[in-house]
């Protein structure tokens, strides 16, 4: 075997590198942020460039939970169950201010931030966030995935 025909790496780094470019997202879309999520996912901004182009609509096959939109108290147990159904390793992205803090829905019906229910890895604020913010959040998530930092 000649010089240059092999390279060494740590196994966890290799796995992290592979994982960060094979994000299978579960879009938990409940509200208007969904439009911006779709804009980000489609060809103009194209999350497929980051290996996140294939949403899975079963939590068993997904490894990133995108919580997109307001979560009401009535929806909270459903979200928690979806999260619990996902196999590890798994990450959670809070998309938009409603999922981050409840946003301007400071009222009796809305969960004041999904981190009161499930652990969150990346917060993307905005009402709704621009696709650039979403891609920024996605890249931050990739950095986290690459080093194996996760909170489940």
């Amino acid at each position: 075997m000649g010089v240059g025909s092999f390279f060494t790496s740590r196994l966890d780094e290799a796995i992290g590198w592979a994982r960060k470019y094979s994000i299978f997202q579960y879009p938990f879309v409940t509200a208007c942020c969904g439009m911006e999520y779709m804009a980000t996912a489609c060809s103009h901004y194209d999350v497929d460039r980051f290996g996140a182009g294939l949403p899975r609509f079963s939590p068993r096959q997904a490894d990133v939970l995108f919580v997109v939109g307001t979560i009401s108290h009535k929806m909270a147990p459903v979200l928690k169950r979806i999260y619990e159904q996902m196999t590890e390793p798994k990450w959670v992205v809070a998309f938009g201010v409603c999922t981050c803090t409840g946003g301007f829905y400071d009222n009796y019906a809305t969960v004041q931030g999904i981190d009161t229910i499930i652990p969150v890895d990346v917060y993307i604020p905005g009402c709704p966030p621009r696709p650039e913010s979403v891609i920024d959040g996605l890249m931050k998530l990739q950095e986290k995935i690459a080093v194996g930092a996760q909170r489940y």
Partner: protein, 165 residues
């Protein structure tokens, strides 16, 4: 029929059960006695000239702290009726007090009232006598209180319980 004629018909058929009537911006309203409500609503639906076959909306208003209405009955339950056949509308209101917030159900007349009445119960705590399924509609069962009442604290947060799934 125009609104004034509809009110006239209600007054003629229900007599003193029609407590008051008014018209605002072309919308006509009759306030009826709670005891006469089933009769008034079935008259509205079944009278051939009235023909109110659609219950457009059923909601409630909390008049607590409302200027000039502090002493009167606290809630008003409002029925918005529409006739597809005659293309006319009417509002029927019924006043109920907080201690006795019970109104006869309208589900036998218009099945859509089922969810409307559940919502009014959920948000205002007005009970509907004879409702076939008197559960909350929007909030979960463990929720305490009725959030659209004026005395529900705007910043009260309840523990995250949520419905059982």
């Amino acid at each position: 029929m125009d609104g004034a004629a509809i009110l006239e018909r209600l007054r003629a058929r229900l007599g003193s059960s029609v407590i008051e009537t008014h018209a605002q911006h072309g919308d006509h309203t009759a306030v009826v006695d709670p005891a006469a409500l089933p009769a008034a609503l079935s008259l509205c639906r079944d009278d051939a000239d009235l023909g109110f076959d659609v219950l457009m909306d059923l909601t409630a208003v909390d008049y607590q702290k409302y200027p000039g209405r502090e002493d009167g009955p606290r809630f008003e339950v409002v029925y918005h009726l529409y006739s597809l056949r005659w293309n006319h509308r009417i509002r029927v209101k019924v006043r109920v007090d907080e201690d006795d917030a019970v109104v006869p159900t309208a589900v036998p007349l218009w099945p859509i009232a089922n969810w409307f009445e559940r919502e009014v119960w959920d948000m205002f705590g007005v009970r509907f006598e004879g409702h076939p399924d008197p559960r909350r509609l929007l909030m979960y069962e463990e929720f305490v209180g009725h959030p659209l009442r004026k005395d529900y604290p705007i910043n009260r947060r309840q523990p995250l319980i949520g419905p059982r799934i």
